[in-house]
Each structure stands twice: as structure tokens, then as C-alpha cells.
Symmetry: C2
Subunit: 186 residues, 2 copies
């Protein structure tokens, strides 16, 4: 039995991929193992269990989002940056609905939690977007939470198929970006 070259990152990537393909609820240890050409118990040599695996997926997701955001925001400011950030996050969720959904039940355990650390980078990008507007420093936290809530809510509902097809979701998305931009401009 030749070695399979597993490590936590490889397993996490496989599980995240499966979540996108078959839905988070159907990602079983056995399925992940099969995808990697290995038996289920072997996974435990690298990860502590299902809870650990989910936490790692969450870190992966938030890290990927942070990277995508940083790339997308290069050289942009103001409304341009807002739009780029919104589109980037939405695209990520639409392309990876499963892994995104599997991070939902997770709350960081503290400031040192890797999920919180990776999340911090996403927040930094959102802060960068807001820096392009003239916002009272005391209100920045609120504006940040507004963006987070809106982006997350929209993405979650869209990924779950919650919007009726009748009216174009793209159009609503553009309308929302406009709405926020105008509001932040005051």
C-alpha cells in the first residue's frame, strides 16, 4: 500500500470540493476518503474529526474570500471598489455554494481562532472599501456591519435559491450596490 501523500490541506480541499458538488449535508468521511483513494479511518491521522474538518473548511473559505477581495480591490476606490468587492464576494459564493454554506454554523471561539484571523483580512478589505468614502470614524464599524450583513444575506439567500426567478437577480444586485453607494456618499 503506497502512501497517498495526504495532509490536512489536501483533505480540506477535497472536502470543500465535495461540499460544492454534493451539498454540505452529504459530505461524509467515507466520501472524502473515497475521493482521495483512501479508507475513512486514515483521515484521522491528519485531522481530529468532522468538527475539525469543518473548521478547516471555514478557514479555507474565509482565506479564499480574503485573497479574492484583495486582488479585486487593487487600484480601486470609492464606488468602483464597492462594486468590485460586492461582485467578488457574490461570485465566490455562487461558484462555491457548498463550502460557503458549511461555514455558516461556525462562530469563532476567540480572537486567536484561525477563522477569526482569516476573517480579519476580509474585514480589512471592507474597511479599505469604506475608506474611499467620507464616513465619520465613529460610524465605520456600523457601515462595516451593514456591508457584511448585506453581502452575506444576499449571497446566502441566492445560494439557497431563495429569490424567485421572475425578476432578474443581477438587476437587483446592481440596484443594491447603487443604493449603498448613494447612502455612503451621504
Amino acid at each position: 500500500m503506497p502512501r497517498a501523500g495526504l495532509d490536512p490541506a489536501v483533505i480540506t480541499a477535497a472536502a470543500a470540493g465535495l461540499a460544492d458538488e454534493v451539498g454540505p449535508a452529504n459530505v461524509t468521511m467515507g466520501l472524502v476518503a473515497e475521493r482521495l483513494g483512501v479508507r475513512a479511518p486514515s483521515l484521522y491521522k491528519h485531522i481530529a474529526g468532522q468538527a475539525d474538518l469543518n473548521r478547516r473548511i471555514a478557514v479555507l473559505v474565509v482565506t479564499e474570500m480574503g485573497d479574492a477581495l484583495r486582488d479585486a480591490l487593487q487600484g480601486r476606490a470609492g464606488r468602483d471598489a464597492l462594486e468590485a468587492a460586492a461582485r467578488t464576494l457574490r461570485a465566490y459564493v455562487v461558484e462555491h455554494p457548498g463550502r460557503y454554506a458549511s461555514t455558516l454554523p461556525l462562530n469563532p471561539e476567540g480572537p486567536d481562532d484561525p477563522v477569526a484571523v482569516a476573517g480579519g483580512r476580509v474585514l480589512d478589505s471592507l474597511a479599505a472599501v469604506l475608506s474611499g468614502y467620507d464616513i465619520d470614524p465613529a460610524d465605520t464599524v456600523h457601515a462595516m456591519r451593514l456591508l457584511r450583513s448585506l453581502f452575506h444575506g444576499f449571497a446566502a439567500i441566492e445560494a439557497a435559491g431563495g429569490f424567485e426567478m421572475d425578476t432578474d437577480v443581477d438587476r437587483s444586485f446592481d440596484w443594491m450596490i447603487d443604493f449603498i453607494d448613494r447612502g455612503l456618499r451621504k
Copy 2:
């Protein structure tokens, strides 16, 4: 063995209550049965299985939200209505985080799906809120989606403990209501 007087509604209520108490992931058939003074297999005389139970919880949640919203909006309009709606939904999620979370993975199967029907009543209430503003009819759908996304996103993040404690979440909530109100006023 006297009869326990079970029916789908009683089982659904028990499961929803447990979801709030122990978290959706820990709601097991056995636990629900125990709470009702019955053995697990007996539940299957009334519900089809776990998936069915979750769908029923979703209907319960959306129905309860719709009722609460309708009550809260009685005799209110404009900013007053917006604020009442937002507070009502937020309060519901904070009080029932478990049952709310267990409805997240659910997408209505079609217009006849009871989840969609109950959801329609919530949307009607949101439409009523928007009717207090002077919005181009062509934009109403977009504004509705904005409200849905924002309320859902904020509630989901707060329920999951996603906001840092440092800055008062209540204050951010009020700020967001103001932001939306000003934007809708155009």
C-alpha cells in the same frame, strides 16, 4: 400504554424548542421523542422522517415570523413601520436562534411548497413596509430583496455570534435602520 396525543404540530414544536435549547445539530429523533415521553420510532407514525421534520420547522418559523410581523406593523407606516419590522425580525431570531438556523439550508421546492406559502406572508409584510415610501414600482422588487438580505444577514451573523462584542450591536442596528430609511426616502 396510554396514548400520548401526538400529532405533527406537537412534534414540530418540540423539535423547534429543542433546537433553541441545544442547537440544531444536537436535535436527534431520540431526544425529541424523550421530550415527548415517547420512543423514537413512534414519531414516524406522524412525520415522514428528519427531512420532513426540518421542513415543518421551517414552515413554523416562517409562519411565526409572518404573524409577528403583521402584529408589529398594525397602524404603522413609513420609518415607523421599517423600524418595527426590523426590530421584530431581529428579536425573533435572537429569541429562537436554533430553530431559525435549522431553516437556513432549506430552499422551497416550488410555489406550492408550504415554506414558500408562509414566506409569501412575510414578503407581503415587507411590501407593506415599502408602501410607506415613494418607490418606483419597478424598483419595489429590488428594495424588497435589499430588506430581506440585510435582515437575514444581520440576524444570521448576530445569532452565530459573528460580531465582535467591542462595539454595541444595538447601536449598529439603529444606524442601519436609519441608513435604509434615508436611502428609501431618496
